[in-house]
């Protein structure tokens, strides 16, 4: 019920900022969710924090302008103000109001650029995950764990099991340990895709012939869903991402089984950049 009310009165929702962080189990959006999905990584936590600052600033500006417009409409319509004024400019006013937006921009720019740097800095990396985009599935490889790799393909609607979310479920989810600094390498075997997981604050293009780098650290165990976010052809809407975050111990166990399961496999072989170069 609370959630319904906030939809009706967006302004009161401001007070929900704090709560938004832990209200839901997370990993995907919920009915009547108001804001971003809850953060599951340090970067996303900071993004939400910064977004909240922006939101307050921007709502104030819009309110101010709207209020001013309403005042003008009521006060200076042809009936209320039959004799228009003759002023053409006012230097003091002009200087002040060039200054004010500049100040506001500074207030925005400093934390923004700080966070940009934080999100990009890759430190104390403990493991690497390589993500390859293909039309229309993902290939994940674990170069630091023996280099096994596997494809992750959407499960069609009619094969979904009880409780599996539609258009988000894949056959092989990508399993990762929590509280580990993970380096992410992105590339593509064909067109540009984009590996995006909202609750982890990640969204980066995968481009053939290029490797993009990023990092993440998952705070809590859980299932985190994402979708391809760069138009990549007809089935762009059908290559979801499912990150399963587990404890470090469980991860080690999983690696052992996965190594065997995916040994030599890899399905329709994803392109290796070196190979194509030699062609």
């Amino acid at each position: 019920m609370m959630q319904r009310l906030t939809i009706l009165a967006p302004m009161t929702a401001l007070s929900f900022f704090g709560a938004a962080g832990n209200a839901f189990a997370g990993g995907r959006s919920e009915p009547w969710q108001m804001w971003f999905q809850p953060a599951a990584s340090p970067v996303m936590e900071r993004i939400i924090e910064f977004h909240n600052l922006l939101f307050v600033i921007e709502v104030s500006i819009v309110t101010l302008v709207l209020g001013l417009m309403c005042y003008i409409i009521v006060r200076f319509n042809a009936k209320a103000n039959p004799v228009p004024t003759k002023t053409t400019h006012n230097t003091l006013l002009e200087v002040v109001w060039t200054g004010v937006p500049l100040l506001i921009l500074m207030v925005i720019a400093v934390p923004s650029l700080n966070l940009l740097y934080y999100a990009d800095r890759i430190e104390n990396i403990e493991m690497t995950l390589k993500v390859t985009g293909n039309q229309w599935f993902w290939t994940y490889s674990y170069p630091d764990h023996g280099g096994f790799e596997f494809d992750s393909v959407i499960v069609p609607d009619d094969e979904l099991k009880e409780g599996q979310p539609r258009l988000l479920t894949v056959d092989n989810e990508v399993v990762l340990p929590v509280e580990t600094n993970i380096r992410l390498l992105f590339t593509s075997s064909d067109v540009i895709h984009n590996w995006a997981v909202p609750s982890l604050g990640l969204k980066l293009d995968t481009v053939a012939g290029r490797i993009n780098e990023n990092w993440m650290r998952i705070n809590k165990e859980g299932d985190y869903y994402g979708m391809c976010s760069e138009l990549c052809g007809i089935n762009h809407g059908f290559m979801p991402i499912h990150v399963k975050a587990v404890s470090k111990a469980d991860f080690a166990e999983w690696v052992e089984t996965a190594r065997k399961e995916f040994a030599g496999a890899g399905g329709p072989a994803p392109v290796r950049v070196a190979e194509t170069g030699a062609r």
């Binding site: 995907r28 959006s29 009915p31 108001m34 804001w35 971003f36 999905q37 970067v43 996303m44 900071r46 993004i47 977004h51 922006l54 921007e58 500006i61 409409i73 200076f76 319509n77 042809a78 103000n81 228009p84 004024t85 003759k86 053409t88 400019h89 002009e94 109001w97 937006p101 925005i108 720019a109 923004s112 650029l113 999100a119 039309q135 979310p165 539609r166 258009l167 988000l168 593509s188 075997s189 064909d190 067109v191 540009i192 995006a196 969204k203 980066l204 481009v207 012939g209 290029r210 869903y225 979708m227 391809c228 760069e230 138009l231 007809i234 762009h236 809407g237 392109v271 194509t276 062609r279």
Partner: protein, 590 residues
């Protein structure tokens, strides 16, 4: 009247060139079809742009139906959906808004407002329209070639645009690229005309700093377009080579459906830079004319001089210049160097300053004015509110990190529809209500206009505000058949359906506008010579509507275009061509 107090008016320079003889149309065909009269060309441009715009509107309905009611409209295949998206986006941005503002409003207003008889190169101007028409026809034809129109998104990113996983990668993409190239060629002919006419064909006394802001807006936008479109042209040509000749400008080594292709060494990102080097200024190619027109509408209908004219001019020019150094803010998630992100985020934020100045000046123009809530004024006010709204959401997207969760979601769709869809369209409508009396000699019907305004304004908000919210949830853009996923929970899907219903209603309500246009053509109230009591020259022609050649004797300009509410004058406005000693005053002094 700090800028052009009548007392300061120096000697008006003598005419430097003789009045030229205009081409005389001999037959109906040369008068109305292959016409060299900028006003006829303007109508041709506008009619074509609006017609193709209606196609874009219908495409948006189809998309909305699919998004709102996926089960019901399951005959819309993914390939259809992507073709609709692509052609809708292209049409709206380029073939509708660019053509309408520059080819339509530009052609009609530039010669009249600067006091010229016609564009400087009437013949080239005519050719410009016919090339544009060719581009439009090619675009439509692309729907009917095997494989259909391209479904690569209006951004046309390679490699996918020319690979088989994308609809229309056989013929559609080629026709799209050729159509764009034609559009650019046609536009360049027109654009050179507009620029030269503003610079060279102003009448005596019409200094640059006396031009109405409408002209400043259109002029600056044209300069932007002349500089930005070539980047797109280059991109289109190179991609055509990649597709037809097998070059690798944008194509790295890659596979297509499991088969290695013969490409290697190209850079997909190069295309993105070229595209957005055009694409961002394109936003302002649409926005600057809107800025200019709104300034004039507000001034006329509030009976107030524009506040801070000089600042308004510099803000237009400044925004235009800045718009060339922000393009990569569309590529924050492409994996670019963070220093790039740093640079482009900073420049993007800086653009907010001149934009804020414009909003202040509009506000102060209205301040203590004598506001008449005519239809043009309503649309102008609605524009300001919408533009502020849309601009503010741009601040979210301009900051690299906040852009990450929002990029490629419905939030972006909402943002750009607000700033470059709804806002400019409001100005288009405002402009049509304002200048229709000049073009036809009759007023548009007030009641129908009021209905049209409120439905459009409130409707636009009802359609696009909810999309911001969907963006926060993480609902991606360019997604076919989402229905209920957990990205689009049930509650949000209801919202989606609601938006679809509103979009259809608002779209259909536009019929009232067209009925109004046709009805008023015959039955509208006679407008007479200057129904809004405006100062600028387009209202000072001997005949309404103005004839070929515009003026009988070219007017001479003595003041800026904003002498409203001049102290001491008998009337509350003094047109630009009234000499100081002819201003009638009670006291005999101005």
């Amino acid at each position: 009247m700090a800028y052009v107090a009548p007392a300061e008016v120096e000697q008006i320079p003598p005419a430097e060139v003789e009045d030229v003889e205009l081409y005389h149309a001999k037959s109906w065909v040369t008068k109305y079809v292959f016409s060299q009269d900028a006003k006829v060309i303007a109508i041709q441009y506008s009619a074509t742009a609006i017609a193709i715009g209606l196609v874009g509107l219908v495409l948006s309905w189809l998309m909305r139906l699919q998004l709102g009611f996926p089960e019901l409209f399951d005959f819309i295949e993914p390939s259809d959906y992507y073709q609709f998206i692509t052609v809708h986006g292209m049409i709206m941005v380029i073939y509708l808004l660019t053509a309408l503002f520059l080819g339509g409003f530009g052609n009609y207003l530039i010669p009249l407002m600067v006091g010229a008889r016609d564009m400087v190169f009437p013949y080239v101007n005519m050719v410009s329209y016919w090339v544009y028409l060719g581009a439009v026809i090619l675009l439509i034809v692309s729907f009917f070639v095997p494989g259909g129109a391209t479904g690569a998104g209006w951004t046309l990113y390679p490699p996918q645009a020319i690979l088989s996983g994308t609809p229309g990668s056989e013929g559609g993409i080629i026709l799209m690229l050729v159509s764009l190239a034609l559009f650019i060629i046609g536009f360049t002919m027109g654009g050179l005309n507009y620029v030269v006419t503003v610079l060279q064909a102003r009448t005596r006394g019409m200094t640059l700093m006396r031009l109405p802001l409408t002209i400043w807006g259109i002029f600056t936008a044209t300069v932007l377009a002349l500089l930005a479109f070539p980047a797109l042209l280059v991109g289109a040509v190179m991609m055509t080579f990649d597709k037809l000749l097998g070059t690798s400008f944008f194509m790295p080594a890659l596979v297509e459906m499991g088969v290695y292709l013969d490409y290697g060494g190209g850079s997909p990102l190069l295309f993105q830079h070229l595209f957005w080097f055009f694409g961002h200024p394109e936003v302002y190619i649409v926005a600057l004319p809107a800025f200019g027109i709104v300034s004039d509408l507000i001034s006329v209908h509030a009976r107030r001089h524009i506040f801070g004219y000089r600042m308004m001019v510099w803000a237009i020019v400044g925004i235009g210049a800045l718009s060339f150094v922000v393009w990569a803010h569309h590529m924050y998630v492409s994996g670019m160097n963070p220093w790039f992100g740093f640079f482009f985020a900073t420049t993007t934020l800086i653009i907010a300053v001149p934009t804020a100045l414009k909003v202040y000046n509009w506000t102060l123009t209205l301040w203590k004015g004598n506001i008449r809530f005519t239809l043009p004024m309503l649309f102008a006010l609605a524009f300001i509110v919408t533009f502020v709204n849309g601009g503010i959401t741009g601040l979210f997207l301009g900051n690299v990190v906040v852009d990450v969760p929002l990029s490629d979601t419905m939030f972006v769709v909402a943002h750009f529809h607000m700033v470059m869809g709804v806002a400019p369209l409001l100005v288009v409508f405002g402009g049509i209500y304002h200048w229709f009396p000049l073009i036809t000699g009759r007023m548009l019907h007030e009641g129908m206009g009021q209905f049209h305004f409120w439905v459009t304004f409130i409707g636009a908000y009802t359609i696009f505000l909810p999309l911001h919210y969907l963006g926060f949830l993480g609902v991606p853009r360019r997604y076919f058949e989402m229905g209920e996923t957990n990205f689009i929970p049930e509650s949000a899907q209801d919202l989606n359906a609601f938006v679809t219903v509103v979009a259809l209603t608002v779209g259909v309500a536009q019929i009232v506008f067209f009925i109004n246009l046709f009805w008023s053509l015959k039955n509208g109230k006679l407008a007479g010579h200057n129904p809004w009591k405006a100062c600028s020259l387009e209202w000072r022609t001997a005949h309404v509507p103005p004839r070929h050649g515009n003026f009988d004797d070219l007017p001479v300009v003595y003041r800026w275009a904003y002498d409203y509410g001049v102290p001491g004058a008998d009337e509350d406005f003094i047109p630009q061509d009234v000499p100081p000693d002819r201003v009638s005053t009670g006291k005999g002094e101005v």
